[in-house]
């Protein structure tokens, strides 16, 4: 007999080759769980970086007459990077990663649709994020100068393409790879929320790309269309502020629904209403229709009014219906449900703040000059956006505490996780409310030199504390996730006695026969 096998190398655990092989496997993986974990890891890095910038910018804002250690233009750029970072480099990839990892399992599919495309989307996002940050480092952000500004636009363009590609994978999975017998209205709530978010992202991200392309060409060929980089944010603002910013945190509504139902062992009452509310949120949080770069007066037009006044409705419906579950049965209290409810409250805060934004008399979103640059409004917008971002951070940490056994096979320490909810909740409130007040007093967005009445310094110190608390919550979350991945308790197959398909051992063989909307293994 001829042996044709090539010689195999036996790797010693911990050796350099072992590490190299591991890196190679991660770099070339098309496994949806691994790609999801990569997105989550990248998103966490973006989140920590953006929150650190939040702390830095807040320090600069304490003294209203000058800058502490950064120049005025540098602070403007870092402030824009913080807001772009929180939205496009943190919350959006974090929930994209969670969706890639969890949605296939929830709908009973062995894989995501187009797994290689999903992997491509991660590497494109990573490249885009690196280029964006690199461009800022070379004075290329909004308000910057020269070729690095174009690099910044290329980076944002790549991020938009990547998020749209990942969104196609998630949407196609929910539409076409559901377990046999699972109707579209029986899709678990997180998968439904991810589907709605992804479907809207597929439409919103190309519009962001169109903006970026036009800005790039304008900047490259004489700057005669949109002028220099001082007005860049005017054209990109819609993607990182109300109502578009809420889109990135929309999956939180699904996280709340799934975790509350599981914790209370209740079938969700009026589930079709819940599904409709999440769909409505997708429509209201589209955001690309309120571009100030196209129409400066758009914030006083009906579509902005509707998105602002009705944006809170889906959150209230989800919280109300989950409240019914909680009223009917005592929940099993743990980190997931505490984080989920805290996230719901912060989303409601964001929705409530949004209701004030379209009123002309309040002047919360009026364009203001910041030195040589133009802002899209006051810090009220930042506060309102941070309320939704905070909801996203809390919701994501709750979701990771819940789905960790499914994503990497180990549990996150519940007791250590719980206090972080307080940090996240407190941090979000301490950023959102003072910024809301300062915005009402017309403190401009992204600015360090301003003159306003009242205790601006004290309130800006509170904002600084808020950002610091959010940073601690995120850092603590990352630490616990890393600890869980390395040495966490191995998760049982179904630690929560879960009700959705991802907790079954063999989802492929499951033919869903349940007539009830909430899937239960007992019905399968």
């Amino acid at each position: 007999m001829t042996i044709t096998d090539s010689q195999t190398h036996v790797l010693t655990p911990g050796s350099d080759s072992d590490a190299l092989v591991s890196v190679g496997r991660w770099a070339t993986t098309a496994d949806h769980t691994r790609v999801g974990r990569l997105f989550i890891g990248g998103g966490f890095v973006g989140l920590l970086g953006a929150l650190a910038l939040g702390v830095l910018v807040s320090i600069e804002r304490i003294d209203a007459d000058g800058t502490a250690f950064l120049g005025e233009n540098s602070t403007y750029q870092l402030s824009t990077l913080m807001r772009i970072g929180l939205a496009l480099l943190a919350i959006a990839p974090l929930f994209t990663g969670l969706g890639l990892a969890v949605v296939p399992a929830q709908v009973g599919s062995p894989s995501i649709a187009f797994p290689r495309l999903a992997a491509l989307s991660f590497w494109t996002w990573l490249g885009g994020a690196a280029v964006t940050v690199g461009a800022y480092a070379a004075n290329g952000g909004p308000g910057g100068a020269g070729e690095p500004v174009r690099l910044f636009l290329v980076g944002i363009g790549l991020v938009a393409i990547a998020l749209a590609l990942a969104a196609v994978c998630i949407s196609a999975t929910v539409l076409t790879l559901r377990a046999p017998g699972m109707r579209s209205d029986e899709v678990p709530l997180f998968s439904w929320a991810s589907f709605v978010t992804s479907s809207v992202m597929v439409l919103a991200m190309p519009i962001l790309l169109a903006n970026v392309v036009s800005l790039y060409l304008s900047h490259r060929y004489g700057q005669i269309v949109f002028g220099d980089a001082s007005r860049l944010m005017r054209h990109l603002e819609w993607a990182v502020s109300h109502p578009g910013v809420a889109l990135y945190s929309l999956p939180v509504l699904g996280v709340i629904g799934d975790i509350v139902a599981t914790s209370t062992r209740q079938r969700q009452p009026l589930r079709s209403v819940l599904i409709g509310a999440i769909g409505l949120a997708g429509i209201l949080y589209f955001g690309a229709d309120v571009q100030r770069g196209l129409n400066a007066d758009v914030v006083h037009q009906p579509n902005y009014f509707i998105a602002s006044l009705a944006g809170i409705l889906p959150v209230l419906i989800v919280l109300g219906l989950c409240g019914l579950c909680l009223r009917n049965a005592k929940p099993k209290v743990g980190a997931p449900i505490v984080f989920a409810l805290a996230a719901g409250l912060m989303a409601a805060l964001g929705g409530a703040m949004a209701m004030l934004m379209p009123w002309r008399g309040l002047g919360l979103v009026d364009e203001l000059a910041v030195g040589a640059n133009t802002t899209a409004g006051t810090v009220f917008q930042e506060g309102q956006a941070v309320a939704f971002i905070g909801a996203g951070i809390l919701g994501l940490l709750g979701a990771l505490a819940y789905w960790a056994p499914r994503i990497w096979g180990r549990r996150i320490d519940d007791k250590k996780m719980l206090p972080l909810a307080l940090f996240g909740l407190g941090g979000t409130v301490l950023v959102a409310l003072p910024l809301g007040f300062l915005g009402w007093k017309e403190q401009p967005l992204d600015a360090v030199n301003f003159t306003i009445d009242g205790p601006a310094s004290v309130l800006n110190i509170i904002v600084l504390v808020g950002y610091a608390l959010l940073f601690v919550a995120a850092l603590g979350g990352v630490g616990l996730v890393l600890q869980s991945v390395r040495s966490g308790e191995h998760g049982a197959t179904d630690p929560w006695d879960g009700q959705t398909l991802e907790w079954t051992d063999t989802p492929l063989s499951t033919v869903v026969r349940s007539a009830q909307p909430l899937l239960d293994r007992k019905d399968a």
Binding site: A167, A172, L203, P206, I207, A210, Y221, V225, A288
Partner: protein, 196 residues
């Protein structure tokens, strides 16, 4: 002995087609975004008036654009012919249709290039129109190039005898992309060459 009843037919997933539909929706959103920027600038700078908006001495070659539109309509029919033949496992007609699609696609690209050469419009000119015109038409040119690459791959697959089954879905996805391109071009044609 009675035979067991036949197993139910497996569910057709159509994942590729659905994914393509999403990609097409994204493509349409992208062009809506580009054209919205073009039209807004046309209103802001040109006051919505073609005479004040267009740079002096620039003549937009409408007949060429109309020819391009007709060629696109023909190519849209051709790609549907390819899908029709594919569904009937007719390898010969599929290959013919795909070959013709590639030729028509190349003709569309040629027409666009010819429009650019006829207009003699420098990309870096004195007016906003120059950049925006190349932005919209250039982006569309790239979208057609992508479609053409997919068509060439499809043509070779058809010649290699890959017909039926998954190949039919792949062709349907290509056809969907091409039809959407045609729809987008109708929009581009009306805005850039009729309204200007």
């Amino acid at each position: 002995m009675l035979a067991l009843p036949a197993a139910p037919a497996p569910v057709r997933r159509r994942t590729l087609l659905v994914g393509t539909a999403y990609a097409c929706a994204g493509l349409m959103a992208f062009f809506v975004g580009l054209i919205a920027i073009y039209l807004q600038q046309r209103i802001d700078i040109g006051g919505g008036n073609t005479n004040t908006w267009l740079p002096k001495k620039v003549v937009v070659p409408e007949p060429l654009a109309n020819t391009m539109l007709l060629t696109f309509a023909l190519s849209s029919l051709t790609v549907q012919w390819a899908v029709y033949s594919m569904r009937r496992h007719n390898r010969r007609d599929t290959a013919w249709a795909m070959g013709l699609l590639v030729v028509l696609g190349a003709a569309i690209l040629n027409a666009q290039s010819f429009i650019w050469s006829q207009m003699k419009l420098p990309i870096m000119g004195d007016t906003v129109y120059n950049v925006l015109f190349y932005m919209v038409t250039g982006a569309f040119f790239l979208a057609v190039v992508v479609g053409l690459i997919l068509a060439v791959i499809g043509a070779f697959r058809a010649l290699a005898g890959r017909v039926g089954g998954d190949a039919t879905e792949a062709f349907s996805a290509l056809a969907l992309y091409w039809h959407v391109l045609f729809g987008v071009f109708c929009f581009v044609w009306y805005v850039m060459y009729v309204v200007k």
